[in-house]
Point group: C2
Chain length 316, copies 2
DNA sequence: ATCTTTGATAATTAATGGTTATCAGCGAAT
DNA sequence: ATTCGCTGATAACCATTAATTATCAAAGAT
């Protein structure tokens, strides 16, 4: 004797509705593709479970009882709910039709996504991306914890539990005030940087460390007293003459249409740049979709931003 | 290999939601009172059926996939629908909480039910009666066909497939115009009726035949040229002097408060009356409730109309 | 009367869902 | 580095459930 309140089987509900709408066990059985005794036993046990009679059987047809009539409505709702469930599953299983939680660094997202998302949406109008910004460090942690499904982060990422698909390589531009002694030069050699105060973001940002490395390479000095909280503040600081800075190419491309008080140069040496990749948990069942997504992002970027960044090869 | 589009088991949905809301197979298993492998296999087959992954399993906990996250909502709706179904069944199985289709003759319903239904409703506030009028003949046919669940009809009813519970016996009153030669007499003997034109309803009404029999007994003449379509028209016809009539006691009681132009007498002989009973299909699973209902109707009638009709004993 | 149709029943088999015992991978604590 | 405790997956087995076919009895139609 089960102590728990038993719940009906979905199949029983199905049979119930089928019989009720045909007013016949046999016809319902035929329609359902099962034998008639199957219905008899299922309905009997359902009735026993509910503690009431659903049908009034007679040798001449089957009739709903008042109780059955009442429950039929509810039962139909169940069928409907199940149908909707299955339909959702159907469309979702087609791929790229769901909401994915995407993480991006604040030094990339606002300058990349507005160029990419519309095209992506056009291709998969059921695909939704729930975008959240975070530093690469937090993004990777969030990935592991499941608060993100995918993320765009600077490469390299060397973690066994994560899969990476490279997207594109973005140059970093050297930015100086318009009244700076180096302003006007198209290229600047590393030796000319000696003694320059290079501004950068706060230490928690990955971008900070990147610039730090670059400065070590080039022999420039990091200005650690004033650190920007965003690329925009960084740019303002340069304009105010607090120093020079390296800014991501996509930022320069999207935010600095009119040069105003700033001058943008190249560094004459090995190229200064950062690489972005799409990452996800290696165990993610949707990994095939993510690869597809990466490919499409590359395609879109190559089409719309090909002159700003260099698109990478996908891992094949 | 099943060619039909398989549908998930309700149990699978249940397990799915349980695991998703606990983020753990083992905890969900514990809560559900089953072993953990049971969940593993059920979810696996559900995933196979849907063609997508619901969970991302790892050795350190379980995570919903984006697809699973999407479906979880739908799955919860299913649980809800099932819960509502079961709750409905629960209350309905308590008895007298549903809508029953009740048939009454037009010569009784309007004069009986307004006195009975309110009290009935007070006792069972979930009970609903869907009342439809029809001649007894049609009521009995409708019962067999299932368009009524129960009906109040004149007795006797002699049908094997129907169960009858007697309710009460109602006297028929002799009604004459105020200016009639017999007006003013409290009782009238059958011999005084000789030659009187007795008005009645149209032939399709059971009441017609009843009056016909009475007239044969008493030696009175039926006026067949003008027949009323309702008790009200019948009364009007008597007022207009077209003849005399027999009217049901309940009608007289509820519609003729001020005697106006009509006089009501008794017939001095064997009592003239009709008996009403509650009938239902003998095969109806709710028959116990119907008996209960009959008992309650008797009780209410005895309380409120005991001076007008004579309440019968129930079949015990 | 006879035949068809209704749902119920019985006996049997197939499938399903559950169990216990055990495993392998990971993380945390030693 | 190793151990321990946790995760879900797996295997082998068993109980229950749900289907099958064959048959029945009752009611209606012919």
């Amino acid at each position: 004797m089960p102590t728990q309140p038993q719940t009906p089987t979905f199949r029983q509900i199905e049979y119930f509705v089928a019989i009720a709408s045909r007013c016949s066990y046999r016809r319902a059985a035929e329609e359902l593709g099962v034998s008639q005794p199957a219905l008899t036993t299922q309905i009997r046990s359902l009735e026993a479970l509910l503690g009431l009679s659903l049908f009034e059987r007679s040798r001449s047809g089957t009739l709903l009882t008042p109780e059955g009539r009442e429950l039929l409505e509810q039962a139909r709702k169940m069928l409907l709910a199940m149908r909707e469930f299955r339909e959702s599953a159907e469309t979702i299983s087609q791929g790229l039709q769901t909401t994915y939680k995407l993480g991006v660094p604040p030094t990339l997202g606002p300058y990349l996504l507005p160029r990419v998302l519309p095209a992506l949406h056009a291709q998969h109008h059921r695909l939704k991306l729930y975008v959240r910004e975070g530093t690469p460090r937090n993004l990777l942690r969030g990935l592991s914890e499941g608060s993100y499904d995918i993320a765009i982060v600077p490469l390299p990422v060397d973690r066994e539990d994560l899969s990476v698909e490279p997207l594109f390589t973005e140059p970093l531009k050297f930015v100086i005030p318009a009244d700076h002694r180096l302003a006007g030069k198209k290229t600047v050699s590393p030796s000319q940087l000696r003694g320059e105060k290079v501004l950068t973001l706060e230490g928690q940002h990955h971008f900070h460390h990147q610039v730090q490395e670059i400065c070590q390479d080039l022999g420039a000095d990091l200005q650690r007293d004033y650190e920007g909280t965003s690329l925009d503040t960084l740019r303002q600081m340069v304009v105010m003459g607090l120093g020079v800075a390296f800014l991501p190419g996509l930022y320069v491309h999207s935010e600095m249409h009119n040069p105003e008080a700033l001058h943008v140069s190249e560094i004459k040496s090995k190229p200064i740049r950062r690489q972005h990749g799409l990452v996800w948990r290696a165990s993610a069942p949707s990994r095939r979709l993510y690869r597809e997504l990466a490919a499409q992002i590359r395609e879109i970027v190559s089409e719309r931003l090909g002159d700003v960044v260099e698109v990478n090869q996908g891992i094949t």
